[in-house]
């Protein structure tokens, strides 16, 4: 098989195992491409992509833009801050106006869960979800799994713990779907207030003791506490959170094995992870960022190949 089963990347939930394998194989080729002296291929020179960011982003936006440019697509960028959205325009109107300018694909980040799915039903373009509220962030989960595969050889059979603010995290949900699809065991760990009540229904283990969780796992994916999404206080103080759920070098050294540390960024150094861990050999945080470009090139390339001329 060399074609995705979907026309949009709305979430990992809509992909199958073969899709993920195909994305990874394609990303392998693009990883080689982005390490050449000239890091660009002309495949998508007749494709135009709009990056619509209705929510702040640094890494994801840059990574998508770079991926698009390395595939030679034409790129237009849009941030809600400086747009007519502020004047009361609806999402469908905004996007249809952009599509009238002959745009083939839309990469969208939006604060509302399901925004991408909604859009895919109402406009004629391939939609890539770059994060929709606390719902999904599929390309992040793909690059996380890809980085695990690169570091440990395979994702199947590995034990991965996702630590931190699971409640507000789209990265957590997409990672759970992606890891399970590839046969990994998943655990979530965090303060009870930041774990969704029925999270175990997804088939994940739940743990509130960080040391136990780290002793169990091969890989720990540390999430950021998303203060901007918190309307109430979920834990007494940042200091107390760090003491119970922050990873430091002493804790890692006291474990019975060497685990791999991941973080989707942005890092709050000294809160969920200390600097000596973030910058250590056990951390693959910067590999994740590099792989992000290759994964996004693969996703865009594969979706673009399904756009009819």
């Amino acid at each position: 098989m060399s074609e995705l089963s979907v026309n949009h990347l709305l979430g990992i939930k809509y992909l199958n195992q073969k899709d993920i394998e195909l994305i990874f194989e394609t990303a392998d080729h693009f990883k080689e491409v982005i390490n050449r002296p000239i890091k660009k291929v002309p495949s998508l020179r007749d494709i135009t992509i709009a990056n619509l960011f209705f929510e702040n982003s640094t890494r994801t936006k840059l990574s998508f833009e770079l991926a698009e440019k390395r595939l030679s697509a034409d790129v237009i960028n849009f941030s809600s801050g400086q747009s007519s959205v502020k004047k009361g325009e609806t999402l469908i109107d905004t996007v249809n106006n952009i599509l009238s300018m002959k745009v083939d694909m839309v990469v969208m980040r939006h604060p509302n869960p399901g925004a991408g799915i909604f859009l895919s039903k109402h406009v004629k373009a391939s939609i890539v979800n770059a994060g929709d509220g606390a719902h999904e962030h599929p390309t992040q989960a793909l690059l996380d799994s890809y980085s695990i595969r690169e570091k440990l050889g395979d994702v199947a059979g590995k034990k991965v713990v996702i630590v931190g603010d699971i409640l507000h995290s789209r990265v957590a949900l997409s990672n759970i779907f992606a890891l399970q699809l590839q046969g990994a065991e998943v655990m979530v760990c965090g303060p009870k207030t930041l774990l969704p009540k029925y999270i175990s229904e997804l088939g994940v283990k739940v743990e509130t003791n960080l040391r136990k969780a780290l002793n169990w796992c091969d890989v720990a994916n540390m999430l950021r506490v998303q203060n901007e999404r918190m309307d109430i206080s979920y834990f007494p103080s940042t200091r107390e959170y760090t003491q119970q759920f922050g990873v430091n070098k002493a804790l890692l050294n006291s474990l019975n094995k060497e685990i791999t540390i991941m973080h989707p960024g942005p890092i709050n150094r000294g809160v969920e992870i200390t600097s000596d861990v973030a910058d250590s050999n056990q951390s693959i945080i910067l590999n994740q960022v590099e792989n992000g470009v290759a994964i996004r090139m693969a996703v865009i390339y594969l979706l673009a190949s399904k756009i009819k001329q």
Binding site: S2, T26, H29, V33, I38, K39, P42, D46, S305
Partner: protein
């Protein structure tokens, strides 16, 4: 589906040795030359030629790579089937090198056009030559000709030239197949 043998094992073998000799005539000790097999089918031919150069003619240092042209093709989104990429291995600088592209069948010339673009991502070569086992005459879409050719074949459009290799199909032979 009718099938005709264009070259049998013995003929393929003679041609491979001739092509290797022609390369030596031009490139001497290969110190400034790299052989690039074009994915997927050109790689088998490149491996063979390079093996003959090393084992039979004692050329010590033959630099060899393989180039995938999928992302450089001009028919992306135009065919029925999606394009699947293969591995590229060019683990050396091509700056100022003499490059020999190696492919099994030269037909429309479009793959070679894509390869010419693709190789530029690795630097500016001194010159680029083309070696093909089979050159299909009268079927070119672009002004591209081989520098070294195994056999020239007149095949009409509904016919296809298939190259079999010992390591893949169990025999060395070239067939003309009516589609």
């Amino acid at each position: 589906m009718s099938q005709k043998v264009l070259l049998n094992t013995k003929e393929v073998n003679i041609i491979l040795h001739r092509l290797a000799c022609q390369l030596i005539e031009k490139h001497n000790d290969f110190s400034n030359t790299v052989l690039i097999g074009l994915q997927p089918r050109g790689v088998y031919l490149a491996n063979r030629i390079s093996k003959i150069l090393k084992n039979v003619y004692n050329v010590k240092d033959v630099k060899q790579g393989q180039l995938d042209i999928t992302f450089y093709r001009d028919d992306f989104r135009r065919g029925d089937k999606p394009l699947k990429a293969n591995t590229t291995e060019v683990n050396f600088l091509v700056e100022n090198q003499n490059i020999v592209f190696i492919d099994d069948v030269l037909y429309t010339g479009r793959s070679i056009r894509a390869a010419l673009t693709a190789i530029q991502s690795f630097g500016r070569p001194n010159e680029i030559e083309l070696l093909t086992l089979i050159d299909r005459r009268f079927s070119r879409h672009l002004p591209i000709q081989p520098n070294y050719r195994g056999r020239q074949v007149d095949a009409i459009n509904k016919e296809k030239v298939i190259v079999h290799w010992q390591e893949n199909e169990g025999e060395d032979a070239v067939y003309l197949i009516e589609k």
